[in-house]
């Protein structure tokens, strides 16, 4: 009887759920869409919410979009290649030996709380994060600013009210690029003093929008800042709505409930493309989905075995099937859109026979047992991680390897990777589109794969220690070649960042890190 009643219950609940979903959609349609009522309110639906609104402590996916509207940095990105232009600083210069950067600050800029922006605010922002004994230190759990520049910056000094000097320990080539990133944005010192530990809920910057309301896991709203120093954006108010389910997000866009949705699934691409009232926004993403190969796990320490894996898989077909055209095949550990990409590298060809030969040479003519770990749910770099692992498993089966796909929930997955408790595991990385963030932060510092040759460290150090772009490029290209020849990891794909917007929305922008930027957006 129990079995019968639980079956009945299951059917009943699913029917109920189906009705409630459709019921909601209808109800909203009857009430008229709130999105259409006021032209100057823009509603974006996203899958995740922010945990903190303190830009120097933010790092979650759901936080970064907001930071580009609330705060500003000394410089800002002027194009998708991350070239920088003036923002809170009007001009800057680098000392002869490359270790001292001097910024001239813009005058007449005010924070949302009325405080004047000046050199003291810049010094306060950096010292709060970089000095451990600062009175407002440790207001978050992990700081990207500290991670990127903690070991780089020796001192931040105010020369006068509108001049700031950054002294670095060594020449650090990505420095200026990093200064345009959200984690280096400037905060209001008076607001931090006033709110203390509550600052993360009461963000105060100089950005064109100021915080109105934050209902955790529901919505964040922000309104135009009246005293903004530059030309104000067209949209009066932005509501960032949290809608975790991708299908619901799509439905809300189609019913006009929201103006834009961030991240569409590959399988939604076709439907949304066919919809005449919806436009799709795509941006080649600075991310990578790859297979991490544990070099200490038998028999993957043998380069021939690793190369056999590469030859065994038809990556082009895999990427086409899993990403449905919303991704590009990866060849190197960094995306082709990033400076320093080595386009001379020819990827391992799909050649199962060659794979079998290599396996036989390595002493595994009959293959071996291989656990393939993968994530259970979508991440920014992969929509369908399980499908990807299953396809890889099937290709490997074809060359005689005996694979088992193990699906892990994200926390378990990353825990077992970081404890080296795996053979092959699929994971990914998304970061600033700078080679240092992939060739060092990912390959040397991020991956736990027991592959850390000294020559890669040396090349990375050399690239960071010179401002000569040609030399940097040469070092980065060399690193990619070494990694390719060693087949040290299995690059799979770069996911496009995607969004879909209503037909009357103009200039909705995604940046290469996947952030929604509404600063130039308006309604037609």
């Amino acid at each position: 009887m129990r079995g019968k009643s639980s079956l009945f219950l299951m059917v009943f609940i699913s029917v109920l759920l189906a009705f409630s979903v459709f019921g909601c959609a209808q109800e909203e349609a009857v009430n008229g869409d709130p999105a259409g009522q006021e032209d100057d309110i823009f509603i974006v639906a996203r899958g995740t919410d922010a945990v903190t609104l303190d830009t120097n402590w933010a790092y979650y996916e759901g936080e970064i979009d907001l930071m580009y509207h609330l705060y500003e940095g000394l410089v800002e990105y002027i194009d998708d290649d991350l070239n920088v232009g003036p923002s809170l600083a009007t001009e800057w210069s680098n000392s002869e030996d490359g270790t001292v950067w001097t910024f001239k600050l813009r005058e007449g800029v005010k924070f949302h709380d009325g405080t004047d922006f000046n050199a003291d605010a810049v010094v306060f922002t950096y010292e709060r994060i970089l000095q451990e004994d600062h009175p407002y230190a440790n207001m978050g759990d992990w700081s990207y600013l500290d991670y990127l520049l903690g070991d780089v910056i020796a001192e931040v000094k105010a020369i006068d009210d509108y001049t700031v000097e950054f002294t670095l320990n060594n020449v650090f080539s990505p420095f200026l690029t990093y200064m345009g990133l959200y984690s280096q944005f400037i905060i209001s010192p008076t607001a931090v003093q006033e709110y203390g530990d509550e600052f993360y809920k009461n963000p105060v910057g100089t950005g064109p929008y100021m915080m109105e309301e934050w209902k955790s896991e529901e919505l964040t709203s922000m309104v135009l800042f009246d005293d903004y120093w530059d030309e104000k954006p067209a949209i009066e108010k932005i509501i960032w709505k949290v809608v975790p389910d991708a299908s619901t997000r799509m439905m809300e866009l189609q019913t006009g409930e929201v103006h834009a949705i961030k991240t569409i699934l590959p399988e939604q691409f076709e439907v949304l493309t066919a919809d005449p009232d919806i436009n799709i926004v795509r941006m080649a993403g600075a991310n990578i989905f790859y297979g991490s190969i544990n070099h200490d796990a038998e028999p993957l320490g043998d380069v021939r075995v690793r190369q056999a894996l590469m030859h065994a898989i038809d990556f082009d077909k895999l990427v086409e099937s899993v990403y449905e055209g919303l991704g590009t095949r990866a060849i190197n550990p960094m995306p082709p859109t990033v400076f320093g990409f080595n386009d001379d590298i020819v990827p391992y060809a799909y050649d199962p026979e060659r794979a079998k030969e290599l396996l036989a040479e390595a002493g595994y003519p009959d293959g071996f047992d291989l656990d393939i770990h993968t994530l259970s749910t979508a991440r920014v770099y992969i929509g369908r991680p399980i499908d990807a692992a299953e396809i890889v498993a099937d290709y490997l089966r074809a060359v005689g390897i005996n694979p088992t796909v193990v699906v892990n929930e994200a926390a378990t997955h990353f825990a077992l990777i970081s404890s080296y408790d795996y053979q092959l595991a699929f994971e990914g990385w998304y970061d600033v589109a700078h080679p240092n963030n992939f060739m060092r932060a990912l390959v040397l510092e991020g991956m736990t794969n027991n592959y850390k040759p000294q020559e890669l460290w040396d090349l990375s150090d050399m690239a960071n220690a010179t401002n000569d772009m040609e030399l940097q490029e040469q070092y980065y290209r060399e690193m990619q070649e070494i990694i390719h020849n060693d087949a040290s990891m299995m690059p799979v794909a770069h996911n496009d960042y995607t969004a879909a917007v209503a037909g009357n929305v103009v200039d909705f922008r995604l940046d290469p890190i996947g952030n929604v930027i509404l600063l130039g957006t308006y309604f037609e």
């Binding site: 009887m1 129990r2 079995g3 019968k4 639980s6 079956l7 299951m10 299908s247 699934l265 399988e267 939604q268 076709e270 439907v271 038809d314 077909k317 895999l318 086409e320 099937s321 259970s376 369908r384 399980i386 499908d387 692992a389 299953e390 396809i391 498993a393 099937d394 089966r397 088992t404 796909v405 193990v406 699906v407 892990n408 929930e409």
Partner: protein, 285 residues
């Protein structure tokens, strides 16, 4: 014995639904045994050029029920899936029966502190929602279909132990047990020869009903993506893998595994109900 059995058959036949369920269940067993010979397709081999093809309703007579998101033949996977689901079902039953009966008999027969200890543990385990408990156990044991089976068995052992104990308590008080004891029969002998046969009826019914539940919970674990290699054609995992395609009109990836789960669970449950009714009637005579 013969007449008893005939009577049982007669009683069982009165329940038309149960008879139907019996034949459906029989068909499933048949599929499970012969599944691999009924199709030319390898249920594991992907074909990325033939993804999400519709089946016979769109004149595709090669993949009668269409293909899934990775181009695997759905019919082949469903046929193989029958074997997996039934294997899981029977393994769970065997583990549950073995452990549950031993615990129940010991608890009921000896009573006292042992009874109290076992029953309190049973109470604790029963206090958890079954699926949640199975999830926790899988999380603790790690992944793999064997662990999933063990997890489901652990969930059902307490229920059986309690039912067995109840029956043992009744049987234990009967005069012939006392007589056997007086004649010098050992406890083990009594448990095996006199107690066990008398608790078979409720046990069989419980276990038949369990078969449906075990299939359902394996499907649930597969659906939630814990415990099972997604390449393995387990019905629940197939259901889960297809759910994202449902909105896009590729219904067959989800609907067919759903129908199989529905048929298997319903038929085994109806069969269990029928068995119980027939056996009860037999006992009443």
């Amino acid at each position: 014995m013969d007449t008893e059995f005939m009577m049982f058959i007669k009683q069982f036949k009165k329940n038309r639904l149960a008879v139907l369920a019996f034949f459906v269940a029989l068909a499933l067993v048949f599929i499970a045994l012969l599944g691999s010979r009924l199709t030319a397709f390898d249920p594991l081999s992907t074909n990325l050029d033939a993804r999400l093809l519709p089946g016979f309703w769109a004149d595709n007579y090669e993949n009668m029920l269409g293909t899934d998101g990775l181009g695997r033949d759905l019919l082949a996977r469903l046929l193989y899936g029958a074997k997996i689901s039934l294997k899981v079902g029977y393994t769970v039953i065997i583990i549950t029966a073995f452990v549950g009966i031993i615990l129940g008999i010991i608890s009921g027969y000896y009573g006292g502190i042992l009874d109290m200890l076992i029953m309190r543990v049973v109470d604790i385990v029963l206090a958890f929602p079954p699926l949640l408990l199975a999830l926790v156990i899988v999380a603790a044991l790690g992944t793999g279909i064997e662990k999933a089976m063990l997890a489901i068995a652990i969930v059902y052992i307490p229920g059986l132990a309690r039912i067995v104990r109840g029956s043992v308590l009744t049987v234990k008080e009967l005069p012939y047990i006392e007589a056997t004891l007086a004649m010098g029969g050992g406890h083990f002998w009594i448990m095996l020869r006199h107690v066990l046969p008398n608790i078979i009826t409720p046990t069989v019914v419980y276990l038949t009903l369990l078969l449906g539940d075990a299939i359902l919970y394996t499907a649930a674990l597969g659906f939630l993506g814990v415990g099972i290699d997604p390449s393995i054609p387990e019905w629940g995992a197939m259901l889960s893998g297809g759910k994202d395609y449902l909105l896009l009109g590729k219904w067959w990836v989800t609907v067919f595994p759903g129908i199989m789960i529905f048929l298997a669970v319903l038929s085994f449950n109806l069969l269990g109900d029928g068995l119980r009714e027939a056996m009860d009637a037999k006992l009443r005579v």
